[in-house]
Subunit: 208 residues, 2 copies
């Protein structure tokens, strides 16, 4: 038998203790710090907090929206799959439109990626929603364009698209958006669906 | 309108060119290098390759197993959700047993986590399978115990559990397993379901 800790609660306790010992969470509102800890937990990197940026009210606004029944709009199926349903306070809808049959045609019409085209199908539900972009920079760019052009405003946007082309710039655009969206971003190339899920699950419930 | 690249193929081309320019893939078999590039693409971190370890035949063996119809056994629902079905060469089953109704009782009986208990339900399908552990160190530890005790041997194991308690040690245990399992691991704390998915999708098809 290999010697390892088998008790789930003890693993969580030690994990969060390690994270709190190794990260500097000062300067963060306590709600944001709680989310940051879970994001670090989900990726194994304590230096993630150095790239984290936020508006002070982002977590509070997103949490309130979920309590009021807002949907969680996700850019990727993996993000939607990862949201823990029992953490959601109002049996909230978790929506991903990427595989909608209308998306390929929309992408051709708009001359953009399928991820960006899928944003068009969010229009009806955008106002007051919680948005989680964990994969495609083009989805975040397109969302910002739509909002600037008058589409509904989300309660908050978790912006953690990942990668080498557009990820850095799309997150900068979110943080500097002229409409002043509530947001939580990880600047730089890092991000991804797992990171988006960690953030949403932490926003959904304060339970560690 | 924000200025950004909207063409999916061009985004991929530039992304992979950036990764190949910034990473040192020498010393890797070409099949492993192909998988490494996609793993870097999925997490945005070129230094991931420094923590990558592999057996030379791991990717080839996993790919051959998939062509022969092997199932992909995943420790987490997010991993299973992220595997791109159209990349799989033989309409392969993608299996996650974590939410099986027998798991909570099994976990109590065995005195371990639900993730580790869920491994018990893999026994019938383990021989010749492709295993992807993207979340729980205890799942990987338990799998290694089962194989050492005579359970079926997977064709290859993608071992990228994440976190602060057991992740480092479980991946070391896989790399040093006395039965000499074919494996691909990311040493250290980094890992996660998105990373496991990148690896499986790259193994499933050489298409970038």
């Amino acid at each position: 038998m290999i010697d390892y800790i088998r008790e789930g609660a003890e693993i969580y306790r030690r994990s969060f203790a390690t994270i709190r010992a190794e990260t500097d969470l000062s300067g963060m509102p306590s709600e944001v710090a709680g989310v940051a800890v879970r994001m670090v937990h989900g990726c194994g990197m304590v230096d993630l907090v150095e790239d984290l940026a936020w508006t002070d009210n982002a977590v509070t606004a997103a949490r309130a929206a979920l309590h009021d029944g807002a949907p969680v709009l996700c850019d990727a199926a993996m993000v939607a799959a990862g949201v823990t349903r029992r953490r959601l306070p109002a049996d909230n809808d978790v929506v991903c439109t990427l595989s909608d049959e209308r998306v390929p045609e929309l992408a051709r019409e708009l001359g953009t990626t399928r991820s960006a085209a899928a944003m068009e199908l969010w229009r009806d539900r955008l106002e007051g929603s919680v948005v989680a972009i964990g994969n495609a920079p083009t989805a975040l760019f397109r969302l910002l364009e739509m909002i600037e052009q008058g589409a509904g405003r989300p309660a908050a946007v978790v912006g953690v698209p990942v990668g080498f082309i557009g990820a850095v710039e799309s997150k900068q655009a979110l943080a500097a958006h002229p409409t002043g969206l509530e947001h939580l971003v990880v600047h730089g190339r890092r991000g991804g669906s797992a990171m988006a899920v960690s953030a949403v699950n932490a926003i959904a419930s304060e339970e560690e």
